[in-house]
Symmetry: D2
Subunit: 143 residues, 4 copies
């Protein structure tokens, strides 16, 4: 298996993100995964407003498996790697790791590039494939 890169996004867990049970609310993980992808784009020098970037795309699937609750304000880390890329879709694999290094959750998000007007799927450009190529796990491993 070829080596691949992993990107890490540092993100703050704030008090208001804890729910009435005192744990980081389950939906927040989905937001933190998305924010990690935006940090990933910024790290690569692209993003929604960058000319030539394959934007927009829509989320077509989210999966989160929660392992250990986060119970306080802290700086967490979200990992970003790509488990597979197809014609118009790409699947990210994410891990959210708490400040003590414990895996709080694992998950994945699948995006589909769409045409801004029609909303129909559009194939990723060669530039995009080149851009993310180092972060693709090969061969694709199921979550």
């Amino acid at each position: 298996m070829a080596n691949h890169k992993v990107f890490y996004s540092k993100q703050r867990v704030y008090w208001d993100m804890l729910d009435l049970l005192g744990v980081l609310h389950n939906a927040r993980y989905v937001v933190m995964f998305e924010r990690a992808r935006f940090d990933f784009w910024a790290h690569l020098g692209v993003g929604p407003e960058a000319p030539g970037f394959d934007w927009p795309y829509l989320v077509v699937r989210n999966e989160v498996n929660y392992k250990a609750a986060i119970r306080s304000e802290q700086e967490a880390t979200v990992s970003v790697e790509i488990s597979g890329i197809k014609s118009s879709s790409v699947t990210f694999r994410h891990t959210l790791i708490d400040a003590a290094g414990v895996v709080s959750a694992e998950g994945s998000t699948t995006l589909v590039r769409v045409d801004a007007e029609s909303g129909r799927p559009v194939p990723w450009s060669d530039n995009f494939r080149k851009l993310v190529g180092d972060y693709v796990m090969e061969p694709e491993r199921p979550l």
Copy 2:
């Protein structure tokens, strides 16, 4: 296959829930699924503050498959049924249907009942199993 019941939660999609692309943000679906479960508890006459209710529980898994974007304020419907119940866990199956009757997303959430002090899994009570029994799909169907 025995019949089972489905509960429907009516929920508002507000303007602030649409993201910069003009679609209901993907993480909002996870929140709307959870709110549907709380509406389900209220429909059954129970809830976090009801004496004897099997509370607390934690979310251990979320899965959302997005089918059609929601692009405006409206009243949506979230369905609640149970695809399986085990010793300490229960898996809900949800569908979010837009105001025109189109399925916007399908998904599932798995909860595990935990002890409030230790955080360790605790088996569901017989009362809980009786309470939700009518909503359990049998035999269990994978999402």
Copy 3:
């Protein structure tokens, strides 16, 4: 003092909107005020997507005075009336009333109509003034 109308928006307080102290989070009130205004627009048959509506506008001021905490899921009511309208701005006055009829908070929001391209203030149209006229408190009363 002439009579004026008040619009009431019914809104759900969900479990996830309660914070770790068990009260409706203070920032949620600002969102609920905004949602009440969107309900108000819908009641008047207009809104962001209605042709000829004075859109967009930006929020230039928010003020919330909290009176009594909300501590459980419930249906709350947000009142909408207009304390004053000037050339390009309008100030709404809101009250959030809990399910028992207790005033939980009072506040106000000032909007300024802006040009979509330049972001510069634009005077409200006569249509807009006619549309909201019945809801304007006269003479203007400070909060």
Copy 4:
């Protein structure tokens, strides 16, 4: 007028915090002010879970005056200073400054310390007054 200290909290504006008009949503400022106060507590070595800290308190007033919209992901700065402290209440003054140094909003939040059981106001401890003393603007200046 005696000198006083100002604390600065660095916070990220993420893509999902921009609304459909492409600007940082007005309610987010209230959350960012609160997060700045929690950063302030952490800077002082205290916080909700610190033994002897004057917790809990409730927000009794929020005011935000918006000056310039924030239109992209960036790192913003929220200032924290105290415009006045009374028997059971304290009023913070906040400024949110964008990545280019432009003041995006000014505002204030008033907190009241309450008894955890009764919810009744409780005077701040001498320790608390000593803790925040350097950040109090004197004489009190209205917003």
